[in-house]
Symmetry: C2
Subunit: 305 residues, 2 copies
């Protein structure tokens, strides 16, 4: 009879949704860690704090995609960790293509023209025919690839090894990072935070992009050498950047990102975890769990995602 | 041996593209009207001026979708008129969904937050699950419907009678305009300028929309009662409007649209005619023409489009 611990600022929503589902065998739902909780559903930061208080956690479901807070090698790993996947692709697509279209349709410039009462027929750009490069092609990257194809774009994907999405026209791996970046109109980072992704977007990679390229990071801040990015924007080596994630969040007051030219900040809002979506995913895994079957979306502690 | 008259500010581009195609039987390409031109390819405004100078025009291909300048009943109609169709759907989709996403993702608000150095995690809206209403479902409306379905939206279409696009979930006709409008999150006008479309977006229709609705006009300015729209925006009856087209273009200096709250102007830039696209369409029709077959995209002078 499993006992479920929920660790979330939206505890009441999760509790209600899960109670409505009348899950078989579920004994009790609690919101404070006790040593007999088998299952945990929660935010990685809260899970991390609770880990020492649990005696035999069997399965922990993260509400977020990013679980880097649980990857510290000093932390226990004697449980199955699953993260949230498959629920952020649509949100991320809306975000990424919203900013790409805002750029191509010159939405800010046209607003400025209107403020100056200037009938300005400067031509819009188009997505159609452009090349997008996805640095990381998991479930979010695959969704972005599908939307890119809908808009008639060419899609490149850079991955460690997987080539799962059929919407990617061309895959690149390992040493091919610069060939991947060459000639891209848009570079999108969708990588998890791991040691292998630290500062993968550095001076060399930014130099490999055309000067009209737009860079968007919806993965994790660690992927970007932030000084290199500021320099690239100041020197016009790329046309713009949209950062949903940064090394420090919130960004401190005096940070140069606030005022870097052609840099847009969106404060880690691109894809939030909706309890409705996460609960569906939790229920799916819960039913596998009580049947003794392998869970979906398991995190590999060695790989870090 | 047909003689082709091209009437366009991009005459050299059109001439080169058509010459490269080595069209069979094409005798001569000219840029000034002479009375022996059989075929005309051009902008409606220039065609209108040239019409009296042609003795027996057989086929006229408009470079634009909108041909209202040739619908004046005082003008000759002793020729086949075809307009540009099927080439603007992608551009219009990029434009419409660019503005819808800019609205949902709060792109302007986040920019303001950045200017004030404020880490503002206000939640974004989503397209997914929202209802879009297409007032007019020709080839452009059908393309918008396809993009709406890609983003997981519900699609309503209002048409005179056709129900051609399968991406429209629900069609409305004739007296059902208010039922069509009720509960829409987004209302998009994609209508041609005809007498039947004059001020179809009036106080009553705007009143039928929810107060969070966004209105976009990519059709023609005549479809909107502009005073009613300004009032609706001033009174917060709808949340915003994006106008690519207006009754007067350019909008005169003192016009209230420049400063109406939550109104964005884009100066008739949503879909321009690219010579490469239009030439493809012209060649397709030319080959039908010399074979004596019915042409594509014929305009019905009575209907007006």
């Amino acid at each position: 009879m499993p006992k479920l611990l929920i660790l979330s600022s939206e505890i009441e929503e999760y509790r209600n949704l899960i109670q409505q589902a009348n899950l078989p065998e579920l004994d009790e739902i609690v919101s404070s860690p006790t040593n007999d909780c088998d299952i945990v559903l929660g935010e990685p930061k809260l899970i991390r704090d609770a880990l020492p208080l649990l005696s035999t956690p069997k399965w922990i479901q993260s509400i977020y995609a990013g679980v880097e807070r649980l990857m510290d090698s000093a932390l226990r790993r004697d449980y199955i960790l699953t993260n949230a996947r498959g629920v952020f692709g649509e949100l991320m697509s809306e975000y990424v293509f919203g900013y790409l279209l805002a750029h191509e349709k010159k939405i800010f410039e046209r607003y400025q023209s209107q403020q100056s009462q200037k009938w300005d027929r400067v031509e819009s750009g188009v997505l159609h025919g452009k090349t997008i490069g996805l640095l990381g092609v998991g479930s979010i990257g695959a969704h972005l690839a599908g939307t890119a194809k809908h808009f008639g774009m060419k899609v490149r994907g850079f991955t460690r090894e997987s080539e799962a999405s059929e919407d990617v026209d061309q895959y690149f791996h390992a040493d091919d990072l610069f060939r991947f970046a060459e000639g891209l109109d848009y570079l999108i980072v969708v990588l998890p935070r791991t040691e292998g992704t630290n500062k993968i977007v550095d001076t060399y990679l930014l130099d490999a992009l055309p000067s009209h390229a737009i860079f968007i990071n919806v993965g994790r801040g660690n992927a970007v050498d932030e000084t290199a990015l500021v320099n690239a924007l100041n020197e016009g080596k790329i046309a713009g950047a949209v950062l949903d994630v940064t090394e420090q969040e919130p960004i401190p007051e005096e940070h140069i990102f606030w005022t870097t030219p052609n840099l847009l900040l969106t404060f880690h809002t691109s894809a939030i975890s909706y309890p409705e979506d996460i609960t569906k995913l939790f229920i799916e895994n819960y039913l596998l769990y009580i049947d003794g079957k392998p869970l979906k979306y398991q995190v590999d502690f060695k790989r870090g995602y």
